[in-house]
């Protein structure tokens, strides 16, 4: 049985290869094989190099490998460089139009195929032929990997549902590639995948779609956004699903979606909607986060609920808009001036993007603050094999809202009074018909009755109460996932970095380094995080940024534990690979 295989497909962006790659990945998934697919695309619409990396693995490793068993080189611009992606004894399949200037590495096999000619057997139109070329390589790979024709056929018909002509042409193109491959002895390898029923309760989904669905099921009724890669598909999917799921009997919308003029406005609309009483969110990435800074401080200080999805990309500045990074940990945690601090959640799979939506909206309303969910491009835009989306068990909790009837029972209402001693005040919604309901929201200094105040004691008291609320938050956010195996070495991860942890731990074990692991799910950190760090001799914090941002946050929280923590970092914009962290941990463990 084939335990592990990686495939790299090099194409030109805008050539239609994306849908071919998604079909191939889904067909493998439907065979019951755990499969990851990473789309390495340029910040461009057409003509630049793009790669798709697929990995199927029976151990469930969910990150990619640095090199591939099979490389399909369709892009003449990169075909020669793509030879580097080959593992020893790898198979290199290239378009016959490619002029190879480099030698095929020793031990590897190279096969040239005229994909255009094979596509030409299906259709005459030059434009369609170009698109179908992609389905021909899918056919070739289907033959090599042993993907049954009925599985690939139904995957195609599902993808192009309702377009019979398109389905027919695509299926024929796959068939043509498959039949051609069957006749080439070099392609008749032992790289056949074994079908199973392991994916019965699983789905293949990207994090942004899961986050969008999660938000719908979390009761979010307002979303504003400004288009930005890699978060746009989150907002677009929210709108699409809201149109399906949130209609009244007259087909009117039980949600509002506004495409804002910029991120300044996007976040302010969330502030307005949250203040007025709806569950409101926006989705953005680094440059948008920077623009949202001032309003984030307002929402923290005036205690207005809202959710921001930060689908991180490689920065600083415009950076690499289509590459991934965990580079906004520090800036998001304290986004805005003054003593501002924000609750952050770190989903590590699309499933968790779905689950954390309800958690985020509940925390935002219960704590009356802004909650950030930090996803990233890898998590948000690539397709992951994960568990079925679970119907939320957590009810929708709106927090401390006083309606008319509740106000009737109290002698007074002071918006920012700490009635319960947990730092969380009560709020009323505009439109409440009660003489005590109204209050004046402001970003300026205020007393507990929301009146303007410059009094020094009042101001300190206000900041201290917000801090008390922060401490309450520590008891409400999700606790980390811990796998304790030793008291010597502990690995700390979060978000998409965690996808390589099983493989990394196996690799380290092979070098006789046994590790415990902890996955952070939220900031502020819960007590379990401190205990884990305290309970190990050495702690490695693995992240996708240059500055070891999570380690710095941990060190700020636990300065007396800072000395035992070391960073192991990778920040090249590519999806995380276990290999990148092995050396760092081994070296640091000396």
């Amino acid at each position: 049985m084939l335990e592990n295989i990686s495939i790299t497909i090099g194409t030109v962006n805008g050539s239609g290869s994306q849908s071919a790659n998604v079909i191939l990945q889904r067909a493998i998934f439907r065979m019951g094989v755990a499969v990851v697919g990473k789309n390495l695309f340029p910040s461009n619409i057409a003509g630049l190099p793009t790669w798709f990396i697929i990995r199927a693995n029976t151990k469930g490793y969910s990150s990619i490998e640095p090199k591939s068993d099979i490389v399909v080189a369709l892009n003449p611009q990169t075909a020669n460089e793509d030879l580097q992606h080959l593992k020893p004894h790898g198979l290199y399949i290239y378009n016959s139009s490619v002029k190879l200037t480099r030698p095929i590495p020793e031990g590897c096999t190279a096969v040239s195929i005229d994909f255009t000619k094979l596509a030409g057997q299906v259709v005459e139109s030059i434009k369609i032929k170009k698109l179908l070329t992609n389905m021909v390589y899918v056919g070739v790979l289907c033959e090599i990997l042993g993907i049954p024709q009925d599985i690939i056929n139904t995957t195609i018909s599902d993808q192009f549902s309702g377009k019979d002509n398109v389905i027919d042409m695509n299926q024929k193109a796959v068939q043509s590639g498959r039949e051609y491959a069957r006749q080439i002895p070099e392609l008749n390898t032992s790289k056949k995948l074994s079908p199973s029923d392991l994916n019965k309760n699983k789905i293949l989904i990207d994090g942004n779609t899961a986050a969008a669905l999660g938000s719908v099921f979390a009761g979010c009724t307002f979303a504003s956004w400004y288009p930005i890669t890699p978060s746009s598909s989150l907002a677009e999917n929210f709108e699409m699903y809201a149109h399906c799921l949130l209609k009244d009997d007259n087909q009117k919308n039980k949600f509002a979606m506004v495409q804002a003029e910029d991120e300044l406005s996007a976040v302010c609309m969330v502030a307005g909607a949250g203040w007025a009483g709806a569950r409101a969110m926006t989705a953005t990435s680094g440059p948008g986060i920077s623009l949202m800074s001032e309003a984030a401080g307002l929402m923290y200080f005036a205690e207005i609920p809202g959710v921001i999805w930060n689908v991180q990309r490689a920065g600083p500045s415009t950076g690499l808009p289509t590459r991934t990074m965990q580079g906004d940990i520090l800036s998001t945690s304290q986004l805005s001036h003054g003593d501002t601090r924000h609750v952050m959640l770190f989903p590590a799979s699309p499933c968790e993007c779905f689950d954390f939506a309800t958690r985020a909206f509940n925390l935002a309303e219960e704590l009356q603050t802004l909650v950030f969910v930090l996803s990233d491009l890898d998590l948000g835009m690539n397709h992951w094999t994960c568990k079925d989306l679970n119907y939320p068990t957590e009810p929708i909790r709106r927090g401390k809202i006083l309606n008319k009837e509740a106000l009737d029972k109290v002698s007074e209402f002071r918006r920012y009074a700490d009635v319960d001693g947990d730092g969380i005040p009560y709020r009323t919604l505009p439109g409440t018909e009660h003489p005590h309901a109204g209050y004046f929201t402001r970003g300026t200094g205020h007393n507990d009755a929301a009146k303007y105040s410059e009094d020094p004691t009042t101001f300190e008291k206000l900041l201290d109460r917000l801090n008390k609320k922060w401490n309450t938050a520590k008891t409400m956010v999700p606790a980390p996932d811990i796998d304790k195996r030793t008291d010597k070495v502990g690995l700390v991860t979060y978000g998409s970095t965690h996808s390589m942890i099983a493989e990394l731990r196996d690799k380290l074990a092979a070098q006789n380094v046994e590790c415990s692991t902890l996955r952070i799910k939220a900031y502020p950190f819960t007590e379990e995080v401190r205990q884990f760090i305290d309970g190990h001799e050495k702690i490695f914090v693995l992240e996708q940024n240059r500055d070891g941002q999570m380690l710095k946050l941990l060190a700020m929280e636990y300065p007396y534990l800072a000395g035992k923590m070391k960073s192991v970092l990778k920040y090249d914009g590519w999806p995380v690979r276990a290999e990148s962290f092995v050396e760092g941990v081994l070296h640091g463990n000396h």
Binding site: T221, A266, G272
Partner: protein, 347 residues
């Protein structure tokens, strides 16, 4: 400070006295034009029997934005951040369109830092009574020029403004706004009916109110001093507001009055002054008037442009009747069956 007394009963249709519409004591400079606007606003709210519990007072940052604390003590207010009143009001309106949104901003807050949000709010036709308390200077930071300062106007220091001023009314007309007015803070007879009409407009209502800053722009050389504003104020009509609720019948001579019918059936009567001709239903003429008056250094005031047939934001969003903010929690989450169907699409 000028106050408007009405001859009508001491309580309105909701049983509220005028005093029920006041707020905290103003902390602005004594004699500030903004306080006159606040007073006129209180009169308008009282006269129109506005329900204080169904109002959202919105503002940004600046002297003008502070004034939302000085009226409607019982209402919810949101004094936000500099230049962001427009998007915050947009979000609030989208989730609760039953609230009467009253926004007070300034020329700095709107025409400079908040310009992006302003133009897009107008473009979306978000229903809000958007009052710009316009004095041509930044008051709270002690008297710098704003973007609405007239070219050639001077600061107290003698510094001359070399830049073209932004006419927010002309801009609003260009952006498709259906209710565009200009007024003078001290002209209660004009401002109160304009405000009352704006309350009933189904869309963005822009009222640019010339409001002299008596501390930083009341000197010789400032085109916005109280005297200069009064001298160059050129009212287009005499205004009379007739509420649909009150069913008051007014007699007027044929051809002397142009009645403008508002969304709820109320009427704003525009009575000709000295044979001046301005039909506010014609956008081209309104723009032409603003262009000409700028060159004559006149402030034309009154209802500049009116068009009730602009698609309102709520219609564009195809919103359900009940405010999103008041949808019952139980109904917010789609069913388990829906999620099962969705899972199946990712197999």
């Amino acid at each position: 400070m000028e106050t408007t007394k009405t001859a009508s009963p001491t309580t309105n249709q909701l049983g509220y006295a005028r005093n029920d519409y006041v707020g905290a004591k103003s902390t602005l400079c004594s004699g500030c034009g903004h306080d006159s606007i606040t007073n006129n606003l209180i009169s308008a709210l009282f006269q129109s029997s506005v329900n204080p519990y169904q109002v959202a007072k919105m503002s940004g940052i600046g002297c003008s934005s502070k004034t939302t604390a000085y009226f409607l003590e019982k209402s919810h207010g949101f004094n936000s951040i500099h230049g962001r009143m427009a998007p915050i009001a947009t979000g609030a309106y989208a989730v609760n369109s039953q609230l009467l949104s009253i926004g007070v901003s300034g020329d700095g807050d709107t025409a400079s830092i908040g310009m992006g949000g302003f133009v897009h709010l107008v473009r979306r036709n978000v229903p809000i009574v958007y009052i710009i308390e316009n004095n041509g200077v930044y008051g709270l930071t002690k008297g710098q020029f704003s973007a609405t300062a007239d070219e050639g106007s001077t600061l107290k220091s003698g510094e001359i403004n070399h830049f073209h001023s932004i006419d927010l009314c002309a801009l609003a007309i260009e952006l498709g706004c259906g209710f565009v007015a200009r007024s003078f803070s001290g002209d209660a007879k004009q401002l109160v009916p304009l405000l009352r009409a704006a309350f009933e407009h189904n869309g963005t209502a822009i009222i640019d109110v010339l409001s002299p800053c008596i501390t930083f722009a009341n000197h010789e050389g400032s085109t916005r001093s109280y005297d200069a504003t009064k001298e160059h104020n050129f009212p287009l009509h005499e205004l009379g507001f007739v509420s649909a609720k009150e069913e008051i019948h007014v007699d007027y001579e044929e051809g002397t009055v142009l009645p403008v019918t508002l969304h709820d059936g109320s009427i704003l009567n525009l009575k000709k002054i000295d044979g001046r001709e301005h039909d506010p239903r014609d956008a081209k003429k309104a723009l032409d008037l603003l262009y000409t008056s700028r060159h004559k250094q006149e402030f034309v005031t009154g209802l500049l442009y009116f068009n009730p047939d602009v698609t309102e934001f709520k219609q564009a969003l195809e919103l359900t009747e009940k405010p999103l903010s008041h949808l019952p929690t139980e109904g917010l989450r789609p069913s388990k069956e829906e999620l099962s169907k969705i899972n199946a699409t990712f197999k």
